[in-house]
């Protein structure tokens, strides 16, 4: 029983660290892409230089509401499914 609790606690800590790393990475990549798009639009004359920051912040707000961001919660879901599958395969197949 204690072993299960230990696995749960350390697993939760490890996965939480991974969750924050993946979220940071995903946000950073998105921001970089938005900066690229903004610069393209400015070059084509569709966007004012002064509106660049607003364009990027707008894009980040869209990202915060997106499905892609919620999918990062899969960091918690996938290992739980994997452990369940391993338990089934090892003991009941």
């Amino acid at each position: 029983m204690i072993a299960l609790i230990r696995l749960g606690i350390f697993g939760l800590i490890g996965l939480t660290v991974l969750y924050f790393l993946v979220s940071w990475y995903s946000r950073s990549v998105r921001r970089e892409r938005l900066e690229g798009w903004a610069d393209e639009k400015i070059a084509e004359g569709e966007l004012e230089q002064a509106a660049r920051d607003a364009y990027i912040e707008d894009g980040m707000r869209d990202y915060d509401a997106s499905l892609r961001k919620k999918l990062i919660l899969g960091v918690y879901v996938v290992p739980i499914i994997a452990v369940t599958v391993v338990i089934y395969v090892t003991n009941f197949m």
């Binding site: 072993a3 299960l4 990475y25 950073s28 990549v29 452990v83 391993v86 003991n91």
Partner: protein
């Protein structure tokens, strides 16, 4: 110095390979000939090659362990231990030791009329250390020459590779977005300090020169 570096990396590589080779599942096609149970002393450092099936087992100095004796198609012998891994390491989550023991007993066969099984296991057999691989699963197979594709290992190693690929991309992104701008800032600040120092030195030099009757620039 170069040899130190090589030795270091060779050592790291050996440890990583050894760890994976010990932990990842492998399958042997064998004929089970017998099973037995034997009391094992678990007080020296080779304790780490035995399972910790439950918490009280850490305080025991010895306990009974089940073994499965098998013979490979080439006549070589192999002995497996049969222990729960429980919720501990390695993460096989094996709780069905008693069931596996029953299956093993059910699959016994003779040399004259062999019944081949694939035993999934992890760990090493070493005669000097008296350590045994832990059997995790038994599956009947058609014959000793069946080709088994290690899907489990493909998935696990693929996952490990993906994880390191992610860490590498993460580091690259972090450097590009967080460290490089900082260094640039630091570089600019340093340039400004340098310039101010140069100007101050220029003024000081000018003041000194004014004592020697040179005109100020």
């Amino acid at each position: 110095m170069r040899y130190v570096k090589w030795t270091f990396w060779l050592l790291v590589l050996t440890v990583v390979f050894g760890f994976l080779h010990y932990t990842l599942p492998q399958r042997d096609i064998v004929r089970i000939v017998n099973t037995y149970e034997e009391r094992q002393d678990l007080t020296d450092w080779t304790r780490l090659f035995w399972s910790v099936p439950d918490d009280q087992s850490t305080s025991l100095s010895n306990r009974d362990v089940q073994f499965i004796q098998a013979v490979k198609a080439n006549g070589k012998t192999m002995v497996y231990r049969n222990e729960d891994t429980g919720w501990g390491w390695p993460p096989y989550f094996k709780f069905d030791t008693a069931n596996l023991y029953t299956e093993a007993n059910d699959a016994k066969s003779t040399k004259a009329n062999p019944e081949w099984v694939a035993i999934r296991h992890y760990g090493w057999r070493n005669e000097f250390l008296s350590i045994f691989p832990n059997a995790v699963g038994i599956k009947p197979v058609a014959g000793p020459d069946v080709r088994l594709i290690p899907w489990g290992n493909i998935v696990i190693l693929g996952g490990v590779a993906l994880f390191f690929l992610f860490l590498w991309r993460l580091w690259a992104q972090f450097r590009e977005r967080a460290i490089d701008p900082l260094l640039e800032d630091a570089g600019e600040t340093w340039d400004a300090v340098d310039e101010r120092a140069d100007r101050a030195r220029g003024r000081f030099r000018g003041w000194l020169d004014s004592w020697r009757g040179k005109p100020r620039r």
